[in-house]
């Protein structure tokens, strides 16, 4: 890899807002391109696909389950939660939209890799929507858990393209976590190094909210 290939500044400023399923695939390919040089993207993506052995699909499906859970959480909150301040519901809308985009992108990526996307789980958030306070509390738990889940799984990802996509999503999860924490008067970054969680630890943590 020669040094002139390292940066392709044009790629980083591409607008990814309102990203669609197919453009996400492109986007993660472009993210790889910004690292390896645009010329390398085509063969690189093909190579990444060829190397798939189910491992990355499993991780993507695990992430998809979490994103489904988060999307459902904010969607229900916006319908049911009592006493949300306008700033809180504005944030909840933005977060719901982000999570829904993550669901769409992960689904498309899994399909592209020849895998079968998991279905949305049944959810039950208990009394979380009784007040703004209880909503924010569970929101923080879900977002912090999401960060730890991605960070825990990411090093096992084989495809650099999938890793770039996961990194791009986990940064957004961390931003969500910090925003929710700030609303609760908590420190946005409780630790200098975010914790990692193994898949089984994450599944255990979210079990109370998954019905099926």
């Amino acid at each position: 890899m020669n040094n002139s290939n390292l940066a392709t500044p044009e790629l980083a400023v591409i607008d990814v807002k309102g990203v669609t399923r197919s453009s996400f695939i492109m986007r993660s390919a472009l993210a790889a391109g910004s690292v390896y040089g645009l010329g390398a993207v085509g063969p690189f993506v093909k190579q990444a696909m060829a190397q798939e052995d189910g491992g990355d699909v499993d991780i993507l499906n695990f992430a998809l389950t979490l994103e489904y859970l988060e999307t459902a959480f904010y969607t229900e909150a916006l319908k049911k939660a009592k006493g949300l301040e306008s700033a809180t519901s504005e944030l909840a809308k933005e977060l719901r939209d982000n999570e829904a985009e993550h669901v769409a992108a992960l689904t498309a990526t899994i399909e592209k890799l020849g895998g079968k996307p998991v279905k949305a789980p049944g959810v039950d958030f208990g009394n979380a929507f009784a007040s703004e306070k209880s909503f924010l509390k569970l929101a923080q738990t879900l977002e912090d858990t999401g960060v730890s889940a991605y960070n825990g799984a990411a090093p096992s990802i084989k495809s650099t393209e999938v890793l770039a996509a996961a990194g791009s999503i986990v940064q957004v999860e961390a931003r969500h976590a910090a925003a929710i924490r700030l609303l609760r008067g908590e420190t946005p970054a409780p630790d200098a190094f975010d914790k990692t969680l193994e898949m089984d630890e994450v599944l255990e943590a979210v079990k109370p909210f998954v019905k099926s």
């Binding site: 940066a7 990814v16 807002k17 990203v19 991605y150 890793l163 986990v170 957004v172 931003r175 970054a189």
Partner: protein
């Protein structure tokens, strides 16, 4: 490994020092040391030729691949030193902000202090990691923040937000280039903390917490370095 025994003594001393450090730093180093069966800090011992961990596939952990790769590649050390340089600048920035007394809002000053402490922990951990992987930590750059500090609290916060968003993008830009899975895990655990800082500061300056939308954009070294240049004293 010509200097093996000297190196080992040095590393033993460093390991002892590390083991007495704060919980979060220990966790970070544990992460760098291999999340699987390797155990805390074993990678560092292994990296400098200790017999205990020289068997191939000693960890039996195919996920991390650490059995085959005990030493950081040249590329990983370069990335770690790049990260270290960014963290040096960030830590210096918050120290300068606090020293200046320009931020009088108590809550904001507290946030600046806590972010600054995070950055210092990143500096310490990255330095230790580079040393343990047999590299030479980059020298602390001379910094200048006069222009920002003279701009008052508003400019200070805006600059902090810019720097943190840049930092998060910089880590994201390197993630795919890191070869050693444990170094990757450690970088990711810093990456999301930079993202948390960025989101908090964005909120304070009235910006959206997710300026790139649902998918954060990476930044390459080539993009990042010109943006930190104004803070480097010549």
């Amino acid at each position: 490994m010509v200097e093996q025994s000297t190196q080992q003594n040095h590393d033993k001393a460093a390991l002892e020092e590390l083991s007495q450090d704060t919980a979060s730093r220990k966790r970070f180093l544990k992460m760098v040391g291999g999340a699987g069966a390797t155990g805390a800090l074993a990678i560092f011992v292994a990296a400098c030729g200790n017999d205990e961990e020289t068997d191939t596939g000693a960890t039996g952990d195919t996920d991390t691949g650490m059995g085959a790769e005990k030493k950081a590649s040249k590329g990983d050390l370069e990335i770690l030193n790049y990260a270290l340089t960014l963290e040096f600048i960030e830590a210096d920035f918050y120290a300068a902000v606090i020293d200046s007394g320009e931020v009088t809002d108590k809550k904001i000053a507290e946030l600046a202090k806590s972010i600054g402490e995070n950055e210092q922990e990143h500096v310490d951990a990255l330095t230790a990691t580079i040393e343990q992987l047999g590299g030479k930590p980059a020298a602390k750059p001379s910094t200048t923040f006069d222009a920002v500090l003279q701009g008052g609290p508003k400019m200070i916060l805006a600059t902090a937000a810019t720097v943190e968003n840049l930092g998060a993008a910089a880590y994201l830009g390197q993630a795919g280039r890191i070869k050693n899975k444990d170094v990757l895990a450690a970088a990711l655990s810093i990456h999301t903390v930079e993202a948390r800082h960025a989101a908090a500061l964005n909120t304070l300056v009235g910006k959206t917490v997710v300026p790139d939308g649902a998918f954060a954009k990476p930044a390459s070294m080539k993009e990042v370095l010109p943006q930190i240049k104004p803070f480097l004293a010549s």
